[in-house]
Amino acid sequence: MTQATNSVITDEMRAAIGVEGPQAVLEVEKTNCRMFARSVGHKDPVFFDEAAAKARGYRGIVAPPGFLGTPIFNPASGSGGAPGEMGGRGYSVPYKRVLNGGTDYEYFPEADVICAGDTITARTKISGFEESEGSLGPMLITRRETTYTNQHGKVVAKMYGTLIQY
């Protein structure tokens, strides 16, 4: 993170690194595990059939790769956005365009596997900023990390997201 003279990274932004945002509660249910798996095209019965999943040693229907639960939607509170959304971070960036640069999912199967019936708490923090000059011009890359903890207090997954503003 070199400090170019024209850097858009401010002290406020540096102070925001590592600060966890508000928690989001996500529900992992049979209906949404199946819907997610169906929409991807999965065929493995562990994502659909509770008896098959249990026969393979899981607590219930397994959450398919990339599915970390559905945020609780409530029109009254405007909630229901995916965890990892920025919200009011208390800083502004002089770029108007935003791209989702990519997403990585990390699982911790030794701790626990996410299954239908789980309630997951997710918290997102900024892990760093980078600046670069690409074909789109100068850009700010924001790296974010969301930690997913299940109802037994086990960290079951992390999501690493890259946001590109230019």
């Binding site: 991807v40 095209g41 493995d44 990339g66 995916a82 997403t103």
Partner: protein, 142 residues
């Protein structure tokens, strides 16, 4: 599919490919499954008003395809530890999306047998639209 073991693979091996082709219906199914109802994936007029040529496939869906590619390969005894990709290019509905993976590293650590891979989705012309990496563990025959 037969279970793949750590001893069966070596660096440079390509894993079995997964071919996808998203109908407009699949994009709406994905909206339902993921909760991402952004209109550029199912409303052509909306997509064109944002400057796109037409509907595009959700990046996260291509990421989930890579999840399926890996899940189907590692079998019942394998474990998916990490996977993901960057979103570098757009894919359109009704066009083939080929999901691929190549082993880049294989090692044992702490009783687990790790395999690292480069994974990606590519268009019919070979352009990689979603390059990424993955880490899985496989069972060992020993």
């Amino acid at each position: 599919m037969a279970q793949v073991y750590f001893e069966d693979i070596k660096v440079g091996d390509e894993i079995p490919q997964l071919k996808k082709n998203c109908s407009t219906q699949q994009l709406v199914l994905w909206a339902a499954g993921s909760g991402d109802f952004y209109q550029i994936h199912y409303d052509k007029d909306f997509a064109q008003n944002t400057g796109l040529k037409g509907l595009i496939v959700h990046g996260a869906l291509k990421n989930a395809f890579l999840g399926q590619l890996l899940h189907d390969w590692i079998g019942e005894k394998g474990q998916l530890r990490r996977f993901g990709c960057s979103y570098r290019g757009m894919d359109e509905p009704n066009q083939d999306i080929l999901c691929r993976g190549v082993v880049t590293k294989a090692y044992a650590d702490g009783g687990n047998h790790f395999v690292e891979l480069d994974v990606w989705t590519e268009k019919p012309d070979g352009k990689k639209t979603s390059p990424g990496t993955a880490v899985v563990t496989l069972p060992s025959r020993s």
